[in-house]
């Protein structure tokens, strides 16, 4: 385990931002902290980076305890949400910044390697103000990676980008992580991002970890209602959760347990369709069907699903 958090807590004057958080992250993993705004994920990141001191708990990096060390002594580096590039330095100057204390020959080579890896070598003399959002992010990545940190912290790096760019940069990030083998700790509120990128995810809410596991585990076997609703979409019928892609829609009554309903409207989403179905029992259920399906609004249909796909939670 390269990074371990043990019972980490942070209390601000009136607000408990992080409470009893414990995590283990394996070397070389792409690990995400996922949760809505205010859930404590950014505070947790700042605690690991050293910008906040914990109220309780320990942080262990590579076998050493670091929670009492200032940021400049910790072998973690951060890619900030706003990138925080130094405006008075060029791209090259920014990336070289942390290498002040390393002998010259090696430093110059490493800088060149990492800049080429993010495809910014040709723009080394530009100033941050002359770069696009995506380019700035690459420089921020290079600046942190060139120092070979034990863990790279990324604070919602994709949220400042246009949706178009986001998917592309997402793929580039994943590739970069695989190439460099550096452990990534990725903070996001976007569950799709987390599912697509991560080896493991920890879902946070109200300062605590609700569940952590692989994307598949969290999606298929969520342990709480919150995790079930936060990842993907879910329907709640009689206190039981059922995902849209598990709902079967037919015109004729099916095996026992099919429920009658009427299609309220259909939404074309490209690769598939979503049908909003008002059940006779009152609930509205979203079902996913093939895009070519011919269901239309105001049709009467029968809705059913495999009980094995139901997600049940303690009351």
């Amino acid at each position: 385990m390269i990074l371990e958090l043990r019972g980490l807590s942070k209390q601000f004057a009136a607000h408990r931002a992080v409470h009893d958080v414990s995590l283990s992250i394996e070397r070389g993993a792409f690990f995400s902290l996922l949760g809505p705004s205010g859930c404590g994920k950014t505070t947790t990141l700042r605690l690991i980076a050293g910008f906040e001191t914990p109220s309780a708990g320990e942080i262990w990096l590579n076998g050493k305890r670091i929670d009492a060390l200032p940021p400049f002594r910790r072998n973690v580096n951060t890619v900030f949400q706003s990138y925080a590039l130094f405006p008075h330095l060029t791209v090259l100057g920014n990336v070289e910044f942390g290498l002040r204390h390393t002998p010259s020959a090696d430093a110059a080579l490493r800088v060149r390697q990492v800049l080429e890896q993010v495809q910014m070598w040709d723009k080394q003399s530009r100033r941050p103000s002359e770069l696009s959002g995506g380019e700035r992010q690459r420089v921020a990545l290079a600046r942190a990676l060139v120092l070979a940190p034990d863990v790279l912290l990324l604070d919602e790096p994709l949220s400042a980008l246009d949706p178009q760019l986001r998917k592309q940069v997402r793929a580039e990030l994943k590739a970069l992580q695989r190439q460099t083998g550096v452990t990534f700790l990725f903070i996001t509120h976007d569950q799709e991002e987390a599912l697509a990128l991560s080896d493991r995810i920890a879902v946070m809410r109200g300062g605590e970890i609700e569940q952590s596991g692989t994307p598949q585990e969290l999606y298929r076997t969520p342990r709480t209602r919150f995790v079930a609703s936060f990842l993907g979409e879910i329907n709640w019928v009689d206190g039981v959760g059922i995902r849209p892609e598990c709902v079967w829609v037919a015109r004729a009554p099916g095996p026992d347990g099919s429920r009658p309903g009427r299609i309220a409207h259909t939404t074309f989403l490209g690769p598939y369709r979503h049908l909003a179905i008002q059940l006779e029992s009152g609930e509205v259920v979203t079902a996913q069907t093939a895009a070519a399906a011919t269901f239309h609004a105001a049709e009467n249909v029968q809705v059913s699903w495999d009980p094995a796909d139901e997600l049940r939670f303690p009351a």
């Binding site: 980076a49 050293g50 910008f51 200032p70 940021p71 400049f72 973690v76 580096n77 951060t78 900030f80 706003s82 925080a84 130094f86 405006p87 008075h88 910044f97 942390g98 002040r100 204390h101 103000s129 600046r143 942190a144 120092l147």
Partner: protein, 266 residues
């Protein structure tokens, strides 16, 4: 439109009048009269006045350097003072509520042979004869720095306030100790503020008159005193006007130079 008219009346017109005076000849009892002449400007180059220009320049430069040296830590303290920020800001601005003249007299009271400092040192037995603290270049420097320090503090403080905190965090994250963060990030990004501070102190210091008149005595003649002299006892208005125009040109050149540097940096 109204702003342009106001600027025309209050700046351009008086400057033009002084400009015109500078190329006329002196009247017998003061005032100006024809013929037109460039003699006043050629006189400026006379080594007699060289000493005055050099001393003024040196004093203004020293005052500027000291103001920035003292102003920067003060501005840094202000920017980091959190809850008490407004209180400290009012303290910095407080001197502006009193007349500058009165404050200079206060300094005379402190510095003169029978003043507070000398009396205190003598009664403590540390000196036997009073120290010549007044009526020299040093006293003028003290007066200049004291008077212009707030002008240096405020623009530097404004720049520090606007500094993105995440830049400082990023620097620490990348391995910079607090001193390195100061010298490699905070200071360079403060350059525009310090440039503004430098102009706000240097230009008025170069043309200072009251400070050198009261605190400098007859030994310290600066450009300001020279000009005042021409318009009173020497009765050579055109020459006084020429010196003023010269001063104005130097100030304008400096302002352009600093602005250019500032734009290059960011």
């Amino acid at each position: 439109m109204p702003a342009a008219i106001l600027m025309l009346l209050t700046i351009a017109v008086p400057a033009a009048i002084v400009g015109i005076y500078s190329i006329l000849s002196r009247g017998a009892y003061g005032g100006v009269e024809l013929p037109w002449t460039s003699e006043n400007y050629t006189r400026l180059i006379d080594p007699l006045y060289g000493g005055i220009f050099l001393r003024s320049f040196a004093l203004a430069a020293a005052a500027t350097a000291l103001c920035i040296l003292l102003g920067f830590p003060l501005a840094l303290f202000l920017a980091r003072s959190g809850a008490r920020k407004n209180l400290y800001l009012s303290l910095v601005i407080l001197p502006f509520w009193t007349s500058f003249l009165i404050r200079l007299y206060a300094w005379m009271f402190l510095l003169r042979d029978t003043g507070l400092i000398n009396s205190a040192l003598q009664s403590l037995g540390l000196i036997r004869q009073p120290l010549p603290l007044l009526y020299n270049n040093g006293a003028v420097l003290v007066g200049l720095v004291y008077g212009f320090l707030p002008f240096a503090v405020l623009p530097i403080y404004a720049t520090l306030e606007r500094l993105d905190q995440s830049l400082l965090e990023a620097a620490a994250d990348l391995g910079a100790r607090p001193m390195a963060v100061l010298t490699r990030v905070t200071l360079p990004l403060c350059a525009p503020g310090m440039g503004a501070a430098a102009i706000l102190v240097f230009v008025p210091s170069l043309g200072t008159y009251i400070t050198s008149d009261l605190l400098g005595g007859s030994k310290t003649i600066l450009i300001g005193n020279l000009v005042q002299n021409q318009f009173t006892t020497a009765r050579d208005w055109p020459f006084g006007a020429a010196v003023s125009i010269g001063l104005m040109i130097v100030a304008l050149l400096l302002m352009f130079a600093v602005r250019r540097r500032g734009e290059e940096l960011l």
